[in-house]
Amino acid sequence: MNALTQNFEVAAGQVPVAISIRNLCKSFTRERRVFSDVSFDVAEGSIVALIGANGAGKSTLLRCLPQLIDTDSGDIEIFGKRANGVRSDTKATRSRIGFVFQKHNLVGRLSALTNVVHGAQARGVGIRAWSQALAPVELRAEALHCLERVGLAHVASQRADSLSGGQSQRVAIARALMQRPDIVLADEPAASLDPQAGEEVMQLFAALMRREKKTVVFTSHNLNHALQYADRVIALGQGGIQLDAPSRGLNEQDLRNLYV
């Protein structure tokens, strides 16, 4: 299913909507409006790339979804439930959203396995998910399985700060999987890696997310990644959406023109 048909089906109510954003506005100061009146839906199981120049608001928009940043106005719904404003259940919303950061955000002193076990904290496991040493056997086994899925079971007991950038990002993906999320957000997951490692991480990330039928929104400055791995590309710029189209009909020059 390509993004064009997905959009159509979303509009026709055939495909469930995972994320619904309506008239979203965000500014950091009175003079500096990041974006305003942004609206779009993301169909369940689809992969959407958010692109745009520095300062266009890609990361800000992504961080608004799990309420890491408060919005000024507008609505966000996650699977039909309000996800911003006073009526939202922040914790419940966050538990359904996995987040892969640009700089992996692992705890360097802890083992890869413990970092992955941390992902279970989204499920209310409590103190047992603070460390692999406290985790019950089934949780440890699940964490190891998550590492297997990203091809890193052999580094389970290694400290996270001893891993390469690409390995660290894969462990961060495993931590997101451990969360058992319905939606995965990724903020420039390959930006801090060398081209080879970045390509490998994006390939693995997209393949895993497709296999697991996760709804994904990722930001990227790499236009090839947007075209190659996403069903749909949304370009932010000049305070709003400049382009929202299926990736299949686009080429790199179309996207590059948006930066001019």
Binding site: V107, H118, G119, Q121, A122, A129, W130, R175, Q179
Partner: protein, 262 residues
């Protein structure tokens, strides 16, 4: 040669900075004058010091078993006081760290309490606890506990504040609880610094515990006080050497542990 004018080597101070510098300099001079320190006094004092030194040697080993027993008690007080202090420091540090505390008012109150613990000298706390729980090592342990909290809670809080915010954000984004974020992301990162602070606390408490006996709060201080008051300077020398060896051993052990763990 360049046509541009070279900048001056030193910036010309503004009048306020200059006035403050003059005032500080004047205060330093007045402080020396009021202390009464003079070459005449040093001239008289040095021979007296030499006489005291001569009376101290050779150190007497007559009361060595008692000195060693009191030394052990002193170290036990330091260990117990430090451990209790560290245990209470952890929750207080979390409450005193602005990014972890539940409320800014809580940060303000806890920081105030910790500052009070730190600014009042341990000898004063020892007097307070001697009045409260009576003479003996229990008062010393409580005084050392308070002193350790004043030191360790502040540095624990700073260590936690300085940790990388990334892992915290990652756990927050997935909906982890506040305690989950603290114990999974913050404390593991702050741990090396916290271990360092804990070892320094033990060194500090060992040094501090030596003098607590002077006010009756247990430990070897009472032994030193009695020796000096009875002019048994050779016995006082034994006590001082024993204290020196204990403090040195604790510092060496602490350095070794630091190098092994960190």
């Amino acid at each position: 040669m360049s046509e541009n004018i070279l900048p001056t080597r030193f910036d010309r101070p503004n009048p306020l900075t200059f006035a403050i510098a003059v005032a500080v300099g004047a205060f330093v001079l007045v402080s020396f004058y009021h202390s009464g320190l003079s070459f005449e006094k040093l001239d008289r004092g040095l021979p007296a010091l030499a006489r005291l030194g001569a009376q101290m040697f050779p150190p007497s080993i007559e009361r060595l078993p008692q000195v060693l027993t009191m030394l052990l008690q002193t170290f036990e007080m330091a260990v117990a006081g430090t451990l209790l202090g560290l245990i209470f420091s952890l929750p207080l540090a979390i409450l005193a760290a602005p990014s972890l505390s539940p409320h800014p008012l809580c940060v303000w109150l806890v920081r105030g309490l910790v500052a009070l613990f730190r600014t009042v000298p341990d000898l004063v706390w020892a007097i307070v606890f001697v009045i409260a729980v009576g003479l003996g090592p229990a008062a010393g342990v409580l005084a050392l506990m308070i002193d350790t909290i004043g030191f360790a809670a502040r540095f624990f809080a700073e260590a936690m504040e300085e940790t990388d915010k990334g892992p915290r954000e990652a756990l927050t984004a997935m909906g982890a609880s506040r305690s989950g974020v603290i114990f999974s992301a913050v404390i593991p990162q702050a741990l090396p610094s916290m271990i360092n602070t804990s070892l320094f606390s033990l060194e500090k408490a060992t040094r501090g515990s030596v003098v607590l006996g002077l006010v009756g709060a247990g430990g070897i201080g009472i032994e030193l006080k009695v020796s000096l008051e009875l002019f048994d300077y050779d016995q006082a020398a034994t006590t001082i050497i024993a204290i020196f060896i204990l403090v040195l051993l604790v510092e060496r052990a602490s350095t070794w542990v630091r190098s092994r763990i960190l």
